[in-house]
């Protein structure tokens, strides 16, 4: 065995240290942050006891942006600089934004993503979201008394790759390490499942401010298996407000509202909608910028008629997911309502009717998503307990490539469990063709133009053959994080090319770096110090995990192998003490490589252990 180790002060490994992790619900109308404390998930509040942070950012000419209530309160006075519901713009180009005309902002068309002109310069939705995340990060670090190791951020299940990437970029910009993006309905199910110790098949109906999500999950002994998910990225509580707003314009004879009037009336519309959850009619009173007074009464039945088609749309999505999962409403053990908009009485009535049962509403629909995210964050940060849950998630949208004639060929259909690897063979179109362009797509439609383009790459060096003779195997691989990589390989020669797909809407690393520079003005020295700190943290974690593995499975190694791994560990330890970032990384790679066989043997052991203890007849039969 190697010599006993004595650690440098400040470098001692603390194997059972609790890592600070949080779950963040980055919502259209409001956002929350939660963490697991002494085994209990809880939402963190600000100094005034508010759990919800309004997702509102107000840019000022001479000071840092305001976030939350202080921004929200200024939205009718300073509408163009006060950004609300920015989530609807994430990962979207101007042409994608249907409601552009109804938004009081100066939207700019820009390559990749729409931008907003404000008094402190043009802002991308990613930057606006990063301000919200920074506010939540501060709240969490103040409350928890230390730097966050990592966070789980929730996104609508129906977010596509560009929207997910934009969310990750915002987190990076806010200085947060993202352990995983998880889907909002899944997070809600985690919170419910643990709270109720539920078993069976559940539906989660999640209507937020700007998005609708529907997921079907099977819960069994700590395993959460997503069976199917569907939804609508452009449908939420805001749309109900818009309907009421349109009704106000019509009935108060307002032809040309100013940006400020728009805000005032939208706020009044929302208030009326909320009142109608409790009473049968709601007064709508407001004074416009030109002094005109609006005084109307909205009846419950009128509201019902105005919004009936929106509810119908959600139910069509529910039907689709049930069909994908080959389930009928009778097969469900419960229906969970999530999202503030599910407080609407009309909605509860329609949902009850569709599913033939009363939905579950015992957890606060505003908090449940953040609570679930914090539970998953705690696990992924490595704070593991004995009764850990496991989340088996699916791809929300189909992934495929473009074939001749502008058609989409699906390689991984929607609702496939992750991680997944799937290959399909293609061939050449022309005699003597030596290159092939591979266009990666996401979406359900037949035509390429209707799907979202995730990227293009080329396979070159195909030997010249007659058309249709070459065999090109295209492999799609999606890991547990939902990241896609694509490989193309010519079978006879083995010529190969591959890419990790970055959506065309995502920001490049350079752009992120530039934004980081702008927002922090980080000195070079600070950056190096941070990189070193990160490398040391990573190295420490690696050492802990190898040590733990050797403690439990030492019998899988012979003496020589043990000595060798110990030597790699000692080198890495020395590098940490010496404090060179590159050196630490080099020795981490060496240790990783040196333990590859060991890791493989441990994996095989644990798989075969999973099958032992099975009844003999079923294995031998």
């Amino acid at each position: 065995m190697a010599l006993l180790q004595i650690s440098e002060p400040g470098l001692s490994t603390a194997p059972h240290q609790h890592r600070l992790a949080a779950g963040i619900d980055l919502g259209t109308t409001h956002s929350l942050v939660a963490t697991v404390r002494s085994g209990e998930p809880q939402v963190l509040e600000d100094e005034l006891g508010h759990a919800l942070l309004p997702s509102a950012v107000r840019y000022c000419s001479d000071e840092a942006p305001h976030v939350g209530y202080s921004a929200l309160n200024m939205q009718d006075k300073d509408p163009t600089n006060t950004i609300v519901s920015v989530k609807r713009l994430m990962g979207r180009v101007l042409a994608d934004v249907n409601e552009a005309a109804e938004l009081p902002y100066a939207l700019l068309d820009a390559p990749g993503m729409v931008r907003l002109a404000t008094v402190s310069g043009d802002k991308s939705p990613v930057e606006v979201s990063a301000e919200i995340l920074k506010a939540l990060r501060e709240r969490a670090e103040k409350s928890m008394g230390g730097e966050l190791t990592g966070v789980v951020i929730t996104v609508p299940a129906y977010f596509d790759d560009a929207q997910r990437q934009a969310t990750k970029d915002a987190a990076k910009l806010a200085g947060l390490h993202v352990l995983r993006l998880i889907n909002e309905p899944t997070a809600a199910a985690i919170a419910y499942g643990l709270d109720q110790a539920a078993e069976g098949t559940f539906a989660v109906y999640d209507l937020g401010g700007g998005t609708f999500d529907f997921s079907l999950l099977k819960l069994s002994r700590g395993v959460f298996e997503v069976l199917a998910t569907s939804g609508n990225g452009h449908l939420g509580g805001d749309d109900f407000d818009q309907r009421v707003y349109g009704w106000i314009l019509q009935h108060a004879n307002i032809a040309a509202p100013t940006a400020g009037d728009m805000r005032t009336l939208l706020v009044a519309a929302r208030r009326a909608k909320e009142l109608l959850s409790k009473q049968d009619s709601a007064p709508i009173q407001a004074v416009l910028s030109d002094g005109t007074a609006v005084d109307l009464t909205l009846e419950y039945s009128t509201f019902d008629t105005l919004t009936a088609d929106l509810l119908q749309k959600t139910l069509i999505s529910c039907r689709k997911a049930l069909k994908d999962a080959a389930l009928a409403v009778e097969d469900l053990n419960g229906v969970v309502l999530v999202g503030g908009a599910t407080r609407m009485r009309t909605l509860r009535r329609e949902v009850t009717q569709f599913f033939g049962r009363q939905p579950l509403t015992n957890l606060d629909p505003d908090k449940v998503v953040a609570l679930g995210a914090s539970i998953q964050a705690n696990i992924l940060a490595g704070n593991r307990g004995a009764d850990d849950l496991l989340l088996l998630d699916v791809t929300p949208l189909s992934l495929g490539i473009e074939t001749m004639g502008g058609l989409t060929e699906k390689i991984i259909p929607r609702n496939t469990t992750l991680p997944v690897t799937r290959a399909q063979d293609f061939t050449t179109f022309k005699d003597g063709q030596t290159a092939m362009s591979i266009h990666v797509l996401q979406g359900e439609r037949e035509l390429v133009g209707d799907c979202r383009s995730l990227g293009r790459f080329e396979l070159r060096g195909i030997p010249p053959m007659v058309a249709g003779a070459a065999r090109i195997r295209i492999t799609f691989q999606v890991d547990a994080d939902g990241l896609l990589s694509v490989t193309a390989r010519e079978q006879s020669t083995g010529v190969e090319t591959q890419i990790v797909v970055k959506p065309s809407y995502g920001l490049g690393d350079d752009e992120i770096a530039r934004m980081l520079q702008e927002s922090y003005q980080l000195a070079e020295a600070d950056k190096h110090a941070r990189m070193l700190q990160e490398a040391i943290t990573e190295a420490r974690r690696l050492l802990e995990s190898v040590k733990a593995a050797m403690d439990t499975d030492a019998d899988l190694l012979d003496d020589a192998e043990q000595v060798e791994i110990n030597a790699f560990m000692q080198h890495l330890f020395n590098a940490m003490a010496a404090g060179g970032t590159d050196d630490i990384k080099k020795h981490m790679d060496a240790l990783n490589n040196g333990t590859r066989d060991f890791a493989s043997r441990r994996m095989n052991r644990s798989i075969s252990q999973a099958l032992t203890g099975q009844t003999v007849d079923s294995i031998a039969a």
């Binding site: 352990l179 069994s220 002994r221 700590g222 395993v223 298996e225 069509i316 069909k323 696990i379 992924l380 940060a381 490595g382 593991r384 496991l390 989340l391 088996l392 496939t416 469990t417 992750l418 991680p419 997944v420 690897t421 799937r422 691989q477 890991d479 547990a480 974690r541 690696l542 995990s545 190898v546 593995a549 240790l591 990783n592 490589n593 333990t595 590859r596 890791a599 493989s600 441990r602 994996m603 095989n604 644990s606 798989i607 075969s608 252990q609 999973a610 099958l611 099975q614 079923s618 294995i619 039969a621």
Partner: protein
């Protein structure tokens, strides 16, 4: 010790046959994923996580194939060296071709009528069920017959999709 060359059924410790207990399959799937899923190795070294990705993906794929009667049938025939959808398949029997034509006519006539479409959907569903029953009796004993049933089923799946699309267009 289990390795990547094991069949899907061996991976789950199930007998090498079409008739399997789906409850056992499901509970073993969960047990295996509980061991192999990359999230189980959160915070551990990359090698371990990459290995877990491979295992977990392999288990997902095997589970997907085995839990579907159609996919399981295709898979078992392929193991016997028979490609149900390969080239040079014998022609479909004339009575099935006739039935195919009838269905297509019905679909064309029902295109804008939701009730007719739903009737057709139910008729397709009934045929599917009866073919799946036939399939369970043939995969292990008469591979050629099973291959024919699988080809018929594939036709029904496509038809079902077309009916579904027509229904969605009406919504």
């Amino acid at each position: 010790m289990i390795d990547f060359s094991a069949t899907h059924l061996q991976l789950f410790g199930l007998p090498q046959q079409y008739g399997i207990d789906l409850n056992v399959l499901e509970s073993r799937y969960r047990e295996l994923q509980t061991k192999a899923h990359p999230d189980r190795f959160a915070g551990e070294d990359e090698t371990q996580i990459r290995l877990a990705e491979q295992w977990s993906g392999r288990i997902n794929e095997a589970y997907r194939v085995l839990k579907s009667p159609f996919e399981r049938g295709c898979y078992l025939l392929t193991l016997q060296g028979i490609e149900p959808f390969g080239q040079n398949q014998p022609a479909m029997p004339p009575d099935f071709l006739m039935q195919q034509m009838q269905w297509h006519e019905q679909l064309a006539e029902a295109r804008s009528k939701a009730d007719k479409l739903m009737q057709l959907e139910q008729s397709v569903e009934r045929h599917k069920k009866s073919l799946l029953t036939d399939l369970s009796g043939t995969v292990d004993s008469s591979a050629e017959q099973a291959a024919l049933i699988l080809r018929k089923l594939k036709f029904l799946f496509r038809l079902e999709e077309q009916v579904g699309e027509a229904l969605e267009a009406l919504e």
